[in-house]
Structure formats: structure tokens, C-alpha cells
Amino acid sequence: MTELIQLLWSGVLNGLCYALIGLSLVLIFKTARILNFAAGTMAGFTGWFAWWWATKQGIPFLLAILVAIIMVAVATLLIERLTIRPLINENFLSIVTITLGLEFLIANISIRMFGGRAESFRIPGDIQFKNFEIGGVRFNWWHIVILIATFVILAIVGYIVNRTELGLAMRAFAEDKDAARLMGIKESTVSQWTWTLSVTVGGLTGILFAPVLFLQQDYMNIPFIKGFVAAILGGFTSLSGGVLGGLLLGELEALAVKYAPRQAAAALPVIIVFFILLIRPRGLFTRAKAHERV
């Protein structure tokens, strides 16, 4: 029993990572119908950047995180303005191509800037190495931090999307672009802040999980793929669906490690998701839209 709980807990932890990346992808997709292939690399870059400020520049840990997040957010505003905005009314493919280009570009910049060797992200008090036990189940302090931080992020994103004017504009765009435009909502503003919000969520994920995954050149790539899968599971247009999808995938993986044959453990969850997708192409948590008019 304790073993199972331990397993499920590790599933929750991975799931949170996928959920956050999934959330960051869904945020952009829902409002702007853009698939951001650079999300993982951008998240990884932020993680590296925070490490760079903390370790190489020697500024305090929390300040380093803040500086990294703010600088990446500003860079995102710039990137959005220069590369995404001009194509905002083009077809889906051109912007996807742009994000693929960004992926290559940022990955390369990240190697040039941070060296590309594996590093470890040290946290004050080394709490990522400190554990405590409840009823035989071991918990890591940093994991608890991740859990709390994730809830805070989810709450903030939920507040922005559901309670602020920006969120209202975002939802309006998600529902009907043309109608939203006619209501006088500026598409450029929505696009710009959606991107910033999405990249910030991704960046925080990159920082939160850097001590767990270890800083490697492309340490956010696998979480990106999994976050992707999580978003698919959630139907790619539902914020809560993406988060639930992430948790579900995390648990599936944890259980596969124990109950599936070793060779299949890595691929099984993705295979399961693939079949889910064949049956329910629009994800588990979304209802089908009314049919299109001919």
C-alpha cells in the first residue's frame, strides 16, 4: 500500500509538470489557434536563465527567478511583436513554422549562452535533497514546494482568465474571433498578453522542475512532449482539461512503470493516448462542436 501511494505521488509530481506545460500550450492554442512548438525550449531557457543569474551572477535565488521571468516575459513581448503579429491572420501553418524556427533558434542560443554541459540547480538550504516521511511514504521538501507553487500558478491563471478584462477578451477570442473583433477587442493586445502569460507559465515550470530533472541542454524536451500529450488528452481547448490530462498521464506513467513490462513502460502511456485520440479526436474532456455548414 505504501509502495502504491509512493508511486502515485511520483505520478502526481510528473503529472504537475505535464499539466503546467499543457496549460501553457492550451492558453495560446485556445485564444490564438497557434501551436507553440517552442514552448518546451522557452521553458528550458528560462530555467537555465534563472540558474545563470543565481549561480554565475551570484544574485539571491528568489531574485534570480524574478529577474529571469521578467526578462523572458519582455523578450516574449518582443518576439510576439516581431514574428507572430505580422502573420496573425495567415493560416495556421505559417505561425507553426515560426514557432518551429524559434525552437531551433532558442535552443542554439541557450547552448551558446549556458555552455550546454549538464549542471545542477542548487536551491538555498539544499531542500531538494531533504525528505520527510508520513506513514512510510517519503516526501521531498522541494516536491512540496512544486505542489504549492503549481496550485498558486493555477489559481492565478484561473483568476486572470475568468475574472479579469484580459481574460474575458481571451475567452471572447477563443469563442469567435470575428465577433470579438466586432466588439472592439484589439487582437494584438490579446495575442501579446496571451503569449506572455503562456511563456511565463512555461518558464516557471522550467524553473520549478530544473532541480528535479537536472539542467541539461534540452531538459524540457521530454516534458514538452508529455505536456503536449496532456493537452491533447484534454482536448487542447480546455484549460482544466489540459491540467487533468497532465495528471492522468503522470499517473498512467507511474503505474506503467510498475505493472507494464519494462520494455513497454516508456512508450505505453503515449500509445494509450494515441488510441484515445483515434476514438475521441477532440480529447476526453471536450464535447464535440456542432457540425460545420456546407
Binding site: 505580422p86 502573420l87 495556421f92 513554422t97 531551433f104 542560443i109 512508450a267 485520440l277 483515434l278 456546407v294
Partner: protein, 632 residues
């Protein structure tokens, strides 16, 4: 004297195709000659680049994959991120077949056909998600497949030796040893030339045309009788097979490969290569491959900045030249052409034939031409029976028990207020309304519950209320897409452009040109429909419907938005042609004047039911109709 006289008569009764200057489809195109020349040149100068053979080998592999992606992505529009697994499958198949100790110790003569066959089947499987999802979701699904595929390669130790990988076998062809370096590159070049020739043939034939139709409008492609589902997975199959063959070359070039080479990143790089080069042309595959694979070698130390160069150029190209490097070159030549046109050099340029189409001989209308006569059948047709058609959306009975019969060769009008269920009735007849009930019998054949394309092939043609045209495709091709059903050639003969393929293509071109001439669209044959004014687009839509040689043609508001005179003119041509091929026409129209003018019979619909049915005069006098539709 006699000869001169003959010449004159033949020129005055020239076919529409000659008058419009439409090039006759041949075996080889100008671009192919240019391409072959390029290959020959590379073939000869290759020994000069001895130290670059591995890089050149990679360029050839990437170009081959690019060629295959031009089919699946460029033409059929299937955005796939799964091509790394075909490359991996081809590579390991080759390693296993060619190895002496654990394989069969055979050469390329076995590696290539097996890689082609296995990857074709694999392609059909990878293509399955495309039946359910498109664009974004397809990218996701194929992305997942590529990811799982690599895991399979890692775990299938017998096939790939797991993480340690397998060496390539000896490079032989029918026992004849091929040297590494230059001889190998020359062999790859020949293989690439053949691949490109086949890809080009497929793209020029009916398969390429239907793929382009599918990319630009799936609904319209179905209505033109294209089996969209099969075509989509076929695109994956063909593309997968070619990429598998490229995989064989890949491992021989690298001499050793493990599963780690075939990751998702490679898939992305493959599609990026084509986007950089330009996905609308085979030449784009080569331009992209050279750019992505050769440029980093050319400049020392540039490898460290590969990502910045790829990513940066991708972003710049997407922003400023969406058609890739080839698009850039094309615009350059267009600009050059414009500049030359302003100088005295202009007299050396070929004359623009489109601008001045010589008028046809007044006596012979296009309908009397021998080519169009071939479409006329003696079979009696144009007979449609609709029995108790019902379509229900939620609680709304959009079509509620409609029954009628259309006699051969009659023009029937359907009128009714907005929301009366007219278009839904059409959708029920053609199969676009999925939940339609009732019986639909066309020329004695039951077509109920058949998919859209089968109904279309059975003889139901239609147009769309909201212009479902194939955006960036030429007007001429719209007619050809409709005629493709008559093409008497298979896809394999198409790939090799056998003589009967060319013969069929020529006939279809002639017929299309005559049809365009009849519909007064001939001078626009080379225009993309997106660039045409609305009135002409409407006419193209109707022409496409006519080109399917239907038994019953359903026109959904063909005159909407047109001035009455223009609409009448168009309908006159439609009816002439319909009578010529013996097809019945049912037309939904709001323009009562037009309906009264052209329709022998008018059906009035209201709230999903037939309110009145009879001649135009009798219907207009019907009190129910006046109350419900014409108003007081």
C-alpha cells in the same frame, strides 16, 4: 494553293486549347529537363568534391525525403511530423538485409523493394489518424507516432540492436560491389533522379490534382467524386515508401546507425527542410536540402550556430517569402521579366498568348466539338427520385418528409424562404447531411447511405452556396478535377507516365478547354480562382459541377450576388450544356425572375415541407405560396 487553303481552315476551327495556348501535356516538362541537366552536371563534377561525399549523400537523402513530402504535405496538405520512423525503418531494414552474418547478405536489389513495400504499408498505418483529424491534431498524432516509433526502435533489439545500433551492410547491387565515395554518390543521384521523375509524374496526373483539391477544400473534393479517405492514407503510403527508400541510402551513407538518430527532432527538421526550400515544387526539396545540409559545412565553425541559422532563416522566410527559397527565386525571375519588358529586349521574349484569344469560328460552338461529343452517352439518365427525405438537427426538422421525382432532362427550381430546408435537402441528396433519412434513387440506382464521393461518381453533381473552390488552383484544373473520373489509367501507370496516361491527359485537357470555352472562362484558364472576381468564381463553381458529367446537377443559389442579366447568361450556358449531356438540373434560387424564366417546374418549400409543386405560373398563383413566401 490548296495547301494554303487547308491551313487556313484548320486554323479557324482550331480547338479551344490551341486558341488559349494551353500547353499540351507531354511526357517530359521543361522543368524536368532543367532538373535532369542539373543532375547530369552534379554527376560529372562529383569527383571534385571527394571530401564532401558524406555531406552530399545527406543532401541527396534529404532531397529524396523532401520529394516525398511534396506529395504528402505540399500537394495533399497533410502536415506530418512522423517521417523519421520511415527513415528509421528503411535504414534498419537495409542493415538487416545486407548484413552477411545475421542478415541475408543481399544487396540493394532486395533492400530497395523491401524498404519500399514495408514503408508503404507503414505509411498507410501512420496515415490512419488523418481520417479522423486534420492540421493541428494530425501534427499532434504523427508527432506521437514518431515518438512511439523511436521507443519501438530502442526496444526491438533484434531489429536495431537497441541503443548500440547496427552497421550498414556491404553496398552491392546484384552482387556487384559499389565503392564508397564517388560511385556511391553517383548511384544515389540516379536513384534520386528516378524518385523525382516518379514524384513529378504523380503530381502531374490525376493523383496530384486530386491531392491539391483535397488540400484546398475537402468538402468540394468529395463532391467531385474523390475518395478523400483513401487518398489521404495513400499520400502517406507513397510518401512513406519513398522516405523508406531514402532510409536505405541514409544508413549506407552514414555506415552505422542507432535508434537515437531517428528522433522527433529529425522529423521536424525534415519538414522544415521542405518549408525552407518551398513546398509547392520538387525543386524546393533540393533547395532546402542544400541549404540545411551543405551550408553548415561550407563555412567553418558554423556548426555551432546551426540552430540560429536554421531557425532564423525559417522565421525570415516565413515572414517574407512564404513559398520558401524557390518562391524567392521565382519572384526574382518575375521581377527580372518585368524589368526586361521595359527595355527593347522585350521582342525576344515569348509573346503572352493568354491576352488575345482568337475568337472561335462562329459556326461551330464548343458543344459541337468532337472532344465534348465523347462525353454524351446514349443511356437515358437524369432521373432522380426522393422518397420521404428527413433531416433533423436536435429538435429542428430541417427537412420533414420531402418526396418528389425529377424527370429526365428537366430544369427544376426550388424556392422558399431562408431556413425552409432547401440547402439541407440538397445535402441530404448528395450525402453531406450525415443524419439524413429517406430513399434517394438516381437512374434506378439506390444511392441512400452511400458516401459523398460514391454518390458523386454515380452522377450527382453539385455546387455550393458559399463557393467552395480550390483556392490556389488554376481554373483549368477545376474542370480537370471533375473530369478525372473518366481517366482510364491506374496509379501505377501514372507514376511512370505510360503512353496511355499521356493520351488520356491530352483528351481531358481538350475537353476541359472546350468546356471552359462554352462557359466563357477560356481566357482565365491559367488564373488561380482566388484571384478572380466573384462573378467568375461563381461560374467556375458551376463549371466544375458540369465537368463531373453529372446525371443530376444540384445548383445551390448559382445566381446569388450576381446581376440578373449575368445570372441569366450563365444559366443559359449551363442549361445548354446540361441538355447536351442529357443531365437534369435542380436549382435553388431566390431570384424569382430567374426561376420563372428558366425552370419548367418549381417546388416551393416551407418549414421543411413541400408547399407547392408545379409550373412556375401555377406556383406563383398558389395562395399558400403567396402567403408563406412571396408575402402580401
Amino acid at each position: 494553293m490548296t495547301m494554303a487553303y487547308n491551313e487556313q481552315t484548320s486554323s479557324s476551327s482550331a480547338s479551344a486549347m490551341q486558341r488559349a495556348g494551353i500547353p499540351v501535356p507531354g511526357y517530359i516538362k521543361r522543368n524536368q529537363i532543367l532538373g535532369a541537366f542539373f543532375f547530369a552536371l552534379t554527376f560529372l563534377v562529383i569527383p571534385q568534391f571527394d571530401q564532401y561525399t558524406t555531406v552530399i549523400g545527406f543532401i541527396l537523402v534529404f532531397a529524396a525525403v523532401g520529394g516525398s513530402l511534396v506529395i504528402a504535405f505540399g500537394a495533399a496538405g497533410q502536415f506530418t511530423l512522423g517521417h523519421s520512423i520511415f527513415l528509421g525503418a528503411g535504414a534498419f531494414l537495409s542493415a538487416n538485409i545486407a548484413n552477411d552474418s545475421y542478415g541475408w547478405g543481399r544487396g540493394l536489389e532486395l533492400e530497395i523493394p523491401i524498404a519500399l513495400a514495408v514503408c508503404f504499408v507503414l505509411g498507410l498505418i501512420v496515415g490512419l489518424p488523418s481520417l479522423r483529424v486534420n492540421e493541428l491534431y494530425l501534427a499532434l498524432a504523427t508527432f506521437a507516432i514518431a515518438y512511439v516509433g523511436q521507443q519501438v526502435l530502442y526496444e526491438w533489439k533484434q531489429f536495431t540492436a537497441g541503443g548500440s545500433g547496427k552497421p550498414a551492410g556491404d553496398l552491392t547491387l546484384f552482387g556487384w560491389e559499389i565503392g564508397r565515395g564517388v560511385p556511391y554518390i553517383r548511384l544515389s543521384l540516379i536513384i534520386l533522379l528516378i524518385i523525382f521523375w516518379i514524384c513529378g509524374n504523380i503530381l502531374d496526373g490525376k493523383t496530384g490534382r486530386s491531392m491539391n483539391a483535397l488540400r484546398t477544400s475537402e468538402t468540394a473534393a468529395r463532391s467531385a467524386g474523390i475518395n478523400v479517405a483513401w487518398l489521404k492514407i495513400l499520400a502517406f503510403g507513397i510518401s512513406g515508401a519513398i522516405t523508406g527508400l531514402a532510409g536505405v541510402l541514409y544508413i549506407h551513407n552514414l555506415r552505422y546507425s542507432g535508434p537515437e538518430n531517428f528522433n522527433v527532432h529529425l522529423s521536424i527538421l525534415l519538414i522544415l527542410t521542405l518549408i525552407i526550400g518551398g513546398r509547392h515544387r520538387l525543386a524546393g526539396a533540393i533547395a532546402g536540402a542544400i541549404f540545411v545540409k551543405f551550408l553548415p559545412e561550407l563555412i567553418r565553425d558554423v556548426q555551432d550556430y546551426e540552430g540560429i541559422i536554421y531557425g532564423g532563416s525559417l522565421i525570415l522566410l516565413t515572414l517574407f517569402s512564404p513559398r520558401g527559397l524557390i518562391g524567392l527565386i521565382e519572384s526574382f525571375f518575375q521581377l527580372l521579366g518585368k524589368l526586361v519588358a521595359q527595355t527593347p529586349l522585350t521582342k525576344f521574349l515569348p509573346k503572352d498568348t493568354k491576352a488575345n484569344i482568337s475568337p472561335a469560328d462562329e459556326v461551330t460552338s464548343p458543344l459541337q466539338s468532337a472532344t465534348l461529343a465523347g462525353l454524351v452517352t446514349s443511356k437515358k439518365r437524369g432521373h432522380l427520385t426522393v422518397q420521404d427525405a428527413r433531416v433533423i438537427f436536435g429538435g429542428v426538422r430541417a427537412v420533414d418528409g420531402v418526396s418528389f421525382e425529377v424527370e429526365s432532362g428537366k430544369i427544376t427550381g426550388v424556392i422558399g424562404s431562408n431556413g425552409a430546408g432547401k440547402t439541407t435537402l440538397f445535402n441530404a441528396i448528395t450525402g453531406h447531411a450525415k443524419n439524413a433519412e429517406g430513399h434517394f434513387i438516381l437512374d434506378g440506382k439506390e444511392v441512400s447511405n452511400k458516401p459523398i464521393h460514391v454518390r458523386s461518381l454515380a452522377g450527382l453533381g453539385r455546387t455550393f452556396q458559399n463557393l467552395n473552390l480550390h483556392g490556389d488552383i488554376r481554373v483549368l484544373d477545376h474542370a480537370l478535377i471533375g473530369l478525372d473520373r473518366n481517366m482510364g489509367y491506374g496509379r501505377i501507370s501514372e507514376a511512370f507516365r505510360l503512353p496511355h496516361v499521356v493520351k488520356n491527359e491530352r483528351l481531358a485537357y481538350e475537353q476541359s478547354a472546350e468546356l471552359l470555352d462554352h462557359m466563357e472562362l477560356l481566357e482565365y484558364w491559367d488564373e488561380k480562382v482566388d484571384d478572380l472576381p466573384y462573378g467568375l468564381q461563381k461560374r467556375v463553381d458551376v463549371t466544375r459541377g458540369l465537368a463531373t458529367n453529372p446525371s443530376i446537377l444540384l445548383l445551390d443559389e448559382p445566381a446569388a450576388g450576381l446581376p440578373t442579366a449575368e445570372a441569366l447568361e450563365m444559366m443559359k450556358h449551363v442549361i445548354e450544356y446540361a441538355e447536351h449531356i442529357g443531365c437534369g438540373v435542380i436549382v435553388i434560387e431566390h431570384n424569382v425572375e430567374l426561376v420563372a424564366d428558366v425552370c419548367e417546374r418549381v417546388i416551393v418549400m416551407d418549414a421543411g415541407k413541400i408547399l407547392a409543386d408545379g409550373t412556375a405560373e401555377s406556383v406563383m398563383k398558389n395562395e399558400d405560396v403567396i402567403a408563406a413566401y412571396l408575402g402580401t
